[in-house]
């Protein structure tokens, strides 16, 4: 008797899983070469603004300044 109860909840779980997998399989994909090229392009385009990457002119990074100079 209890077999029927677990079977039918397993059934609805499995149905949901199959529907989810169908959805994921239908996603439109691009080639890794194209995706990688675009990630790289974003990095290079924004590198100039990236303070942790290229550093900033002395005095303009508030954390690099000594604490005694408190700018209010």
């Amino acid at each position: 008797i209890s077999n029927n109860m677990t079977s039918s909840s397993n059934l609805s779980n499995m149905r949901r899983l199959v529907e989810q997998l169908k959805l994921e399989a239908s996603v439109e994909r691009i080639k890794v070469s194209q995706a990688a090229a675009e990630l790289q392009q974003y990095c290079l385009q924004n590198a100039g603004k990236d303070a942790l990457l290229v550093g900033v002119p002395t005095g303009s990074n508030p954390f690099r300044e000594p604490r005694s100079c408190a700018v209010v």
């Binding site: 059934l11 499995m14 995706a35 990095c43 942790l52």
Partner: protein, 389 residues
């Protein structure tokens, strides 16, 4: 009598076959081993097996489709890019004040304030420039695993073992008791692992040990959408940069990273390549990819449009789990906080480690780059937070 009741309940569960059994149930109630029931069970098992095969086939098809487009590795594409030089990043500030492990932190949009939460139940708001504490709240629970700053800078959200996410408006009056104005927003059935405001103070996204994520209205506390799909505790989440639309990514103990549509509640993409719990997920600044950090000692990069993992950041010498990851402003650097007390800095494009930072005296549990990318902050089990630049 008992047997009759049991049979009735069983039949009502099988909704598909309810119509068949309603008229004939009385006739067969007397015998639990009716031929109809046996047939029914066989039918269910056959359908179950059929669905199982279908799901296995779909999984292989998914892998096949993904593999077809795997024509090159990210680091190969990046071969011609100039290598990065030496990095000089040091601890510039140390924030002391927590009485126990720091578990989480978040930056305010003003790029100088920080909220942090700890195992001792305290949530502290700091001015990172001066290291002064501006506010402190004591939560009614220990292990406050999640905290977040509101976009306006006027409130903070936090939660943990209390299974809730609460919002505290920050008062300009330092003497005011913040706890009095507390607003309970989210209710889960297990611990709160992460929380984040959406692009306004009005909505909060949460993830929980109960295996779900949820979107809440702050004012009313109403549940707006729930996200089901993880098979175990959800440990982390990150919202897509606002330009890319209404999605977020979550990571969990089921080793999966799921990308969700916030409006429909649907899981739109799922990635399962890590070998252990995913402790941290963070979107690449363009929104086209995200990084993850795991107990398997690796960080990985997943591209959403290629729908696959495109890089692994690992070294044989790194054997401790990653607790937290974040990108520098341009996405070129990936910072990872590790359970071996260090921070490893990776070249995202080339896949190599460019720096290793020492300083904390226990696990690094949380790491976030500041909103304008001038510094990053780490929190640790050594009770302190450090600002690096």
């Amino acid at each position: 009598q008992k047997v009759l009741v049991e049979l009735k309940i069983t039949f009502s569960q099988c909704s598909k076959n309810e119509r068949n059994y309603k008229t004939t149930s009385r006739k067969y109630m007397r015998s639990p081993l009716s031929p109809e029931m046996a047939t029914q069970e066989v039918q269910l098992n056959e359908t179950l097996a059929h669905l199982k095969t279908e799901s296995e086939n779909l999984k292989s098809k998914l892998e096949e489709e993904r593999a077809k487009l795997h024509d090159v590795e990210l680091h190969q594409v990046a071969e011609k890019v100039e290598g990065l030089g030496q990095f000089i990043m040091k601890t510039r500030r140390t924030l002391k004040g927590h009485g126990n492990k720091v578990l989480c932190m978040d930056w305010c949009k003003d790029k100088r304030r920080i909220v942090s939460s700890s195992q001792d139940g305290k949530v502290i708001v700091w001015d990172a420039f001066t290291t002064n504490k501006e506010h402190a709240v004591t939560m009614p629970c220990t292990w406050v695993m999640a905290c977040a700053y509101a976009p306006s800078g006027c409130a903070v959200a936090c939660g943990g073992l209390d299974n809730k996410c609460s919002v505290y408006p920050l008062s300009l009056d330092k003497n005011e008791n913040l706890a009095a104005k507390k607003k309970s927003v989210a209710m889960h059935t297990n611990y709160l692992s992460a929380c984040s405001f959406t692009n306004s103070d009005m909505q909060i996204l949460t993830s929980s040990g109960d295996g779900t994520c949820a979107l809440w209205d702050v004012e009313s506390g109403q549940l707006l959408q729930s996200f089901h799909g993880h098979a175990a505790d959800v440990l982390c989440l990150d919202l897509a940069p606002s330009e890319t639309g209404n999605t977020f990514v979550s990571g969990g103990c089921d080793k999966k990273a799921n990308v969700w549509d916030m409006r429909s509640g649907q899981c739109i993409q799922s990635f399962e390549t890590h070998e252990s719990d995913i402790n941290s997920v963070r979107y690449y600044p363009s929104g086209d990819a995200f990084a993850s950090g795991s107990d398997d000692a690796t960080c990985r990069l997943y591209d959403l449009r290629a729908d696959r993992e495109v890089a692994i950041y690992s070294k044989e010498s790194i054997i401790f789990g990653v607790s937290s990851v974040d990108f520098s402003l341009s996405g070129r650097l990936l910072f990872g906080g590790y359970n071996d007390y260090t921070i490893n800095v990776w070249d995202v494009l080339k896949g190599t480690r460019v720096s290793i930072l020492f300083g904390h005296e226990n696990r690094v549990s949380t790491l976030r780059v500041s909103p304008d990318g001038t510094a990053f902050c780490t929190g640790s089990w050594d009770h302190t937070l450090r600002i690096w630049a």
